[in-house]
Symmetry: C2
Subunit: 193 residues, 2 copies
C-alpha cells in the first residue's frame, strides 16, 4: 500500500535494535483519515471473504480494527491482556510472551463473543515474531470459529512471524512489509522494492 509506505518513510523513525516508531500516525497518535484508507484496503484484499467479526488485541489494534470494521459492517472484539486474573470458564484464553516487555501474560476473550458460526478477520498494527497473533489464532480455534484472514498494517519481514503464519496456510495480508532498516541513515527497505 503505497500511501502507507510513503507515510512510514516520511514520519516513521528508525531506531537502534530494529525499532520502527510510527507513533505519530498509527499507535499513539492516530491519523483517522489514514486508518480509513487502511480499512478500505483490507476490505479490498479480503473482498471475497464473508466476515462476521473482527478480532484484535488491546491496545493499539483497537482503533485500526474499529475503523476497518466500518468497511465490513461487523462488530469488533478486542482480546484483553490480563495479568494475575482468575481465568474462569467464561473466557477463552491464551498465553502470550511479550519480547518488548519481557513477560508472559494471558489474553482473554469472553465466550459470549466468539462462537463456532464466526468467520473471523484478525487485525493488528504490527507483526514481528507473531506471538500475539498465534495467541489470537488459538482463541479463535478454541471457539470453534474460523479464521478467514489476518490483516496487518506493518510486518517486520526480517522476523519470522509472517512465515510461521503463512506456513499454516492462513491468508495473511500485510500492507507494508519492512525487509530492512538502517537506524544510522534512517532508511527503510520495503519488500518488493
Amino acid at each position: 500500500m503505497q500511501l502507507l509506505k510513503d507515510r512510514i518513510r516520511r514520519d516513521g523513525i528508525v531506531k537502534e535494535g530494529n525499532v520502527l516508531k510510527v507513533d505519530s500516525f498509527l499507535n499513539h497518535q492516530m491519523d483517522i483519515a489514514l486508518l480509513n484508507e487502511i480499512g478500505r484496503e483490507f476490505r479490498r484484499r479480503f473482498a471475497d471473504k464473508d466476515i462476521t467479526k473482527i478480532l484484535t488485541i488491546e491496545a493499539s489494534g483497537i482503533g485500526i480494527a474499529c475503523i476497518t470494521a466500518q468497511y465490513f459492517n461487523v462488530p469488533v472484539v478486542f482480546a484483553k491482556k490480563a495479568q494475575s486474573i482468575n481465568i474462569d470458564g467464561e473466557v477463552y484464553s491464551s498465553k502470550i510472551e511479550s519480547f518488548t516487555h519481557k513477560k508472559v501474560y494471558d489474553v482473554i476473550v469472553s465466550r459470549r463473543f466468539l462462537n463456532s458460526e464466526d468467520r473471523v478477520l484478525i487485525i493488528d498494527d504490527f507483526l514481528a515474531n507473531g506471538c500475539a497473533l498465534l495467541g489470537l489464532l488459538e482463541i479463535v480455534e478454541s471457539a470453534g470459529a474460523k479464521t478467514e484472514g489476518i490483516g496487518i498494517v506493518i510486518e517486520k519481514g526480517f522476523q519470522d512471524g509472517g512465515e510461521k503464519i503463512r506456513r499454516q496456510g492462513i491468508a495473511l495480508e500485510s500492507l507494508a512489509i519492512v525487509d530492512a532498516m538502517d537506524a544510522e541513515k534512517g532508511t527503510v527497505v520495503f519488500r518488493g522494492e
Copy 2:
C-alpha cells in the same frame, strides 16, 4: 441519548456492587454502528467547539474516540498506562489510582502529540470516580493545551466524578447518566426519568 439508554436496558447486565456490564456492545465487543451514533451525538453536543485533537485513554476509550474523530476530522491520541516505566522528559505523565484493579499507575502522553495550540476533546467510555479523567485533564494542562470538553458514554451519577469535573466549569457531556441500579431486579434508572 435514547438509543444508548435503550441499548443499556436491553443488553447491559447489572451486577452486585454497582457494576454495569456493557461488554457486549461497548467495551469488549463493540457495535460499530452504535459507536457511529455516539460519535455523531458528541459532534452535535460540541458543535460550537473548534477541536484540534481527541484525547482518550487505553484501552476501551480508543474505539469510541476513533469513530468519534471522524465527525471532527481530527487525530486521536491515546494516553498509555505504564507501570514501572522510566518516565523520561519526553512525556507528560500523571498518576491514576484504579479502584477496579486496586493499584496506582502512570499514564503518559508523548510531548510530541499535545501542545499549547491544541483544543482538546477528551472521550472515554465510563465516568465513575473521575480519577482517569482528572489524570487526562492534568496532562492537557501540562501541555499548555485547552480542554474544550469531555464526552462520556456512560456516567455513574451516584459516584462523585461528574460533580468534581463540572465544579471545575468544564463542559462535560455524558450520553447516559445512571442514577441507580438494582442487581436483583436487573434494572437501571437514568437521570431525568
